[in-house]
């Protein structure tokens, strides 16, 4: 029976009332008294030397308040990188300075050069025409392998070369890896690209800076997934403002997908400018700016090799990846191709020997960082593609080759440093095959063939590491932050609760699902629970929302804080009923004394806590408010089997996605409807990557997919109806809710399933095509079919 409230209920999202009626409060809705407007003047060249900037004519325009250049930020730090990767030789990565505004050189199209602050946004933009900026264009390095060639133009003159780091990871006995390849029955090799993407949240970035001279307090309103992280990075490393003098507010945020994790220059610019000018300063990104200034995602070029015995058992995996960092290191960029990618190269399989090699490369392009999935999609894509190719080369069924190699005993320590706590990969594969009517595929394929079309079915099985992350572990790996989460539960006198979480909701529905958890624990109606997030002034220090971490880590903090509340409330109830604390039970919002008919209601206890006339004051403090911080013991490991069914038009190469089935194991599920919605969104983005989206630069570093006229976002009619199943449940063993996380799964598992399906269709049509790089545009598919 589906539940109608609490954990497991598909409650409608309470936040949708404001989102769907236009009453949300987004950063761009915030307009402060006396506010001025910032326009960022950006480089239209990929690489160049700034000879001079003359702002005098622009500043002379009536209504222009000030034009800032790098010189104004001399006393200000650069934008920090939050993760230091150590290379294969034990040396730290090369880490260039990332100035707020370009100093001496511009390094990518979109690199900010000047900030014009004016009375109106239009005036600020008009005044840009009056700037006199003299830049000598330099040769740009765009292709990663070109960037590593001897004598290549350097993105940063003060670095040795364009190599950020050369990282090796995995099985320590490299002779054993080599021997496995030398003696294998068969080795399958695949070279592929994981295409660069633009995150494209519906709401572009916005930042509003404010400064109160009387209290010397700065406030930043910003479109962020993690306001405390921004407060720490910007306060401590950039502007030198202590936390107690800096408030960061991320109100309603219209989608993040990773691109709103990072600390961006514009946040520091408006905060700095507000203080410098003594008035609020607002910047709103245009969509065009978003294309060149939001951190991009993916952009890996990889060679993967898989060694097998004659039965198709995996003996060893070796990968060699070039990962594009862009022109500067965005906040978490170095960690994505390393610790969020290399650690997943075991996939769901018992491969005993794994060796991962990654070269991170600077190029004259927009910085690249985490995008929904972040490293895990890149790992899953290459692994699930090479397995499919191996199955074909070995004459094996793609389901069987996977089943033959599935990990079945848990906990399982992989050769790439992580330990899976639980999972049941045969169960998710079974669910996929059943839900997708895999058995009926041949008949459907025959029907397509009769219609002159090629039908294919593709499978991918993924693993991801979510619930990011154990702080001590990531600290060893180079993270310059902890990755715990926090919650404060404040019970009011009349029994209602306000929960202040360090997680941030920007589409995930936390206000609904977090309330379901707390209400279920106490046994009260969800309407009595309010979830507050997004403001450093009224939430405990938290690390925010990304990496499918909020329920697994933030939810665990919430549970711990609520447990503290319940424990204290039981003491009060024991006092009120003159019973022993150990005999008190809480059920359906009533405290009872075990084995008696004595009871007090939740509201009686909360009232007693705040009106302590009859209260054990000698034993406990009045009031009912608790905070918990939760640092996870391990990552969580959601997994799932994805199946994609496509039809290819052999005359045009056009791919139509006919069906997509996602059978996931997310552990326990709090709100199945929200989880299904998360999977839908992830699938749309994954299918978008595989079929449509392509962030492309020309050889001069101009972004040629810089608007929706050329950057193809997935639309409803590009997508099939999704079949989503989460009947396979192996609860996480190390967090109190047994939850794993669901936000990124769809984007991780779907690209390889789709590409595998297209290759299957082409092979069935007699076309010996082994691989096509994403996106699988009609032209690319047609070209592959026609040699």
């Amino acid at each position: 029976m589906p539940k109608d409230s609490g954990i497991g209920a598909s409650n409608k999202r309470r936040e949708d009332i404001r989102f769907l009626t236009g009453t949300g409060n987004y950063t761009d809705d915030i307009n402060l008294n006396g506010q001025a407007y910032a326009h960022i003047v950006r480089s239209d060249m990929a690489h160049g030397t700034i000879n001079s900037i003359d702002v005098s004519a622009a500043e002379a325009i009536d209504g222009v308040v000030k034009v800032f250049t790098a010189a104004d930020f001399e006393g200000v730090g650069g934008i920090p990188c939050g993760w230091q990767v150590t290379d294969r030789h034990g040396q730290p990565m090369q880490e260039p300075k990332h100035p707020i505004l370009a100093e001496g050189k511009v390094r990518h199209v979109g690199d900010p050069i000047c900030v014009i602050v004016a009375e109106t946004a239009e005036l600020a933009r008009d005044a840009a025409d009056a700037l006199n900026i003299d830049i000598t264009e330099l040769p740009a390095v765009i292709d990663m392998k070109d960037a590593l060639a001897d004598g290549a133009t350097k993105v940063h003159d003060d670095l040795t070369n364009n190599l950020c780091y050369d990282w090796g990871f995995g099985s320590e006995d490299l002779d054993a890896v080599q021997n496995a390849f030398d003696t294998a029955h068969h080795v399958t090799t695949l070279e592929l690209k994981n295409n660069r993407l633009v995150a494209n949240p519906m709401e572009p970035r916005v930042a509003v800076g404010d400064y109160a001279r009387h209290s010397d307090e700065s406030t930043l309103y910003t479109t962020s997934q993690n306001p405390h992280v921004i407060r720490l990075l910007m306060g401590a490393f950039v502007l030198g403002i202590p936390e107690h003098k800096l408030r960061v507010v991320a109100p309603d945020v219209g989608g993040g997908f990773g691109a709103k994790i990072y600390h961006y220059a514009e946040e520091a610019i408006v905060t700095f400018a507000a203080k410098a000018l003594g008035r609020p300063v607002k910047w709103t990104s245009s969509r065009s700016e978003a294309f060149v200034s939001d951190a991009h995602g993916r952009d890996h070029v990889t060679k993967i090799e898989l060694a097998m015995d004659k039965e198709g058992k995996f003996l060893a995996v070796r990968t060699d990846t070039h990962a594009n960092m862009g022109a500067y290191l965005s906040t978490f960029a170095p960690s994505i191709p390393t610790w969020l990618h290399g650690t997943l190269m075991a996939g769901n399989y018992t491969t005993p020997l794994i060796h991962v090699n990654v070269k991170a490369v600077f190029t004259n392009t927009t910085p690249v960082d985490a995008y929904r999935g972040a490293g895990r999609p890149e790992a899953t894509f290459q692994l699930e593609r090479v397995i499919d190719k191996a199955a074909r080369e070995m004459g094996m069924d793609p389901v069987e080759i996977r089943r033959k190699n599935f990990i079945t005993e848990f906990p399982y320590a992989t050769p790439v440093a992580v330990e899976y706590d639980t999972g049941d990969y045969h169960a998710t594969m079974d669910a996929l095959l059943a839900k997708s009517d895999h058995a009926g595929f041949e008949a459907r394929a025959a029907q397509s063939k009769a219609n002159g079309k090629l039908r294919g079915f593709g499978i991918a099985h993924y693993i991801e590491a979510c619930g990011i992350a154990p702080s001590a572990l990531v600290g060893q790996l180079g993270a310059r932050a902890g990755l715990y989460e926090s919650a404060t539960v404040r019970v009011n006198a009349t029994g209602g609760l306000v929960v202040m979480t360090g997680s941030h909701s920007h589409g995930q529905g936390h206000e609904t699902s977090f309330a379901q958890v707390v209400a279920e624990m106490i046994g009260i109606d969800e309407s009595m629970v309010e979830i507050v997030h997004g403001d450093t002034a009224n939430t405990p220090m938290g690390m925010g929302t990304y990496g499918s971490r909020s329920l697994a880590v933030g939810g665990s903090a919430l549970v711990r804080a609520t447990e503290k509340i319940i424990n204290k409330a039981k003491k009060v109830a024991a006092h009120l009923m003159e019973a022993a604390e150990g005999d008190i039970e809480l059920k359906d919002g009533q405290f009872t004394v075990a084995g008696t008919d004595k009871s007090v209601a939740w509201g009686d206890v909360t009232l007693a806590a705040y009106v302590p006339h009859n209260y054990p004051l000698e034993e406990i403090e009045p009031g009912l408010e608790e905070t918990a911080f939760y640092d996870p013991a391990n990552f969580t490991y959601p997994s799932g089997a994805y199946g994609c069914e496509v039809e290819v038009d052999p005359e045009t190469g056009k791919v139509t996605v006919l069906g997509f089935t996602a059978a996931d194991d997310f552990g326990n599920v709090v709100n199945p409807m929200i989880v299904e919605g998360q999977v839908h969104g992830g699938l749309a983005q994954g299918i978008g990557q595989a079929l449509l989206e392509n962030c492309a630069y020309d050889e001069n570093g101009q972004l040629i997919s810089a608007s929706y006229m050329d950057y193809a976002m997935p639309r409803a009619d590009d997508l099939p109806n999704f079949t989503v199943d989460h009947s396979s449940v192996t609860p996480c063993t190390h967090n109190p809710l047994g939850v794993k996380g669901c936000g990124e799964a769809g984007a991780i598992g779907s690209p390889p399933a789709l590409v595998n399906a297209v290759i299957d269709a082409l092979q069935r049509g007699g076309h010996d095509v082994a691989h096509i790089d994403m996106p699988l545009t009609p032209g690319r598919v047609w070209a592959a079919m026609n040699g």
């Binding site: 065009s288 190469g653 449509l692 492309a696 006229m709 976002m713 032209g779």
Partner: protein, 263 residues
């Protein structure tokens, strides 16, 4: 967007007068011009809106049987009001852009702009339409002069477009996945005196007639008539979305599909 003067006359004569001022530009539905101005890539001193002129709006059937569409008629109106008179034209209009575009964009604006990937130029050229301006009648064969280039003179306004109605016609659009403009669009129309085939989206010279296909189809109006023809990739557009060779291939495939759908 830079500042500009705006006028919205109610007669063609007033519009012509307004367009005589320096750096004045006619505004149809604004579906290309306004985004260009927002990008600050166009800076007209004055915009002269043509959408307030009632005589430029609407669809009717002329004395010669041709379907006549007023220059300021929106795509949505053509889609609805030409459906019974010229179904292939109405179907083409109903797939331009999205509902917002179709309810703002006008046929005159589209033909005056002559985007090499727009749909309407294929319909006009493929139908042998006559483009009527405040000054003259221009045959479609003379009107289209290369991408974004037409026979229109400075300040000349398209007042109506007259489409002879064919015995059979069809438009096949293979969309560019991002913009959903035509990556290749083929308008095929069969008249008593022959078949016309207009190709949009493919050529660096904008919309053009595929004369070999016209000849073949005029003697045998079936897709099989195309089987011996080949399309050269010379002069075809290569961009992020498709190579010249692929576009050339699509011209033949989509022409066959248009013929099959029309017959």
């Amino acid at each position: 967007m830079y500042n500009f003067e705006f006028s919205k006359p109610s007669t063609v004569a007033d519009a012509v007068a307004a367009l005589a001022s320096e750096d004045a530009q006619a505004l149809g539905g604004g579906q290309t011009l306004l985004p260009t101005m927002k990008q600050r890539l166009a800076q007209p001193e004055t915009l002269v809106s043509l959408t307030g002129i009632d005589e430029l709006k609407g669809v009717c059937q002329g004395d010669n049987g041709a379907v006549v569409v007023g220059g300021a008629t929106t795509h949505a109106t053509v889609a609805a009001d030409a459906a019974a008179l010229y179904p292939a034209l109405a179907a083409l209009a109903s797939h331009i852009g999205d509902p917002q575009v179709r309810n703002r964009g006008t046929i005159g604006g589209s033909l005056a702009n002559n985007d090499p990937a727009a749909c309407y130029p294929a319909a006009a050229l493929g139908s042998g339409a006559t483009i009527t301006t405040n000054k003259r009648d221009i045959a479609a064969d003379d009107y289209f002069q290369g991408m974004f280039t037409t026979a229109l003179e400075e300040g000349e306004i398209i007042t109506s477009v007259s489409f002879p109605v064919p015995e059979a016609a069809n438009y096949q659009k293979f969309v560019q996945p991002a913009s959903r403009f035509a990556m290749v669009g083929i308008f095929v129309a069969k008249y008593s005196d022959g078949v016309r085939v207009a190709v949009t989206g493919a050529s660096e010279d904008g919309v053009y007639r595929w004369s070999e296909a016209e000849a073949a189809l005029s003697s045998n109006f079936s897709a099989s008539a195309l089987s011996d023809l080949s399309v050269s990739s010379d002069g075809m557009i290569t961009d992020l979305h498709a190579t010249a060779a692929y576009r050339a291939h699509l011209v033949k495939v989509m022409t066959g599909r248009a013929v099959a759908a029309a017959s």
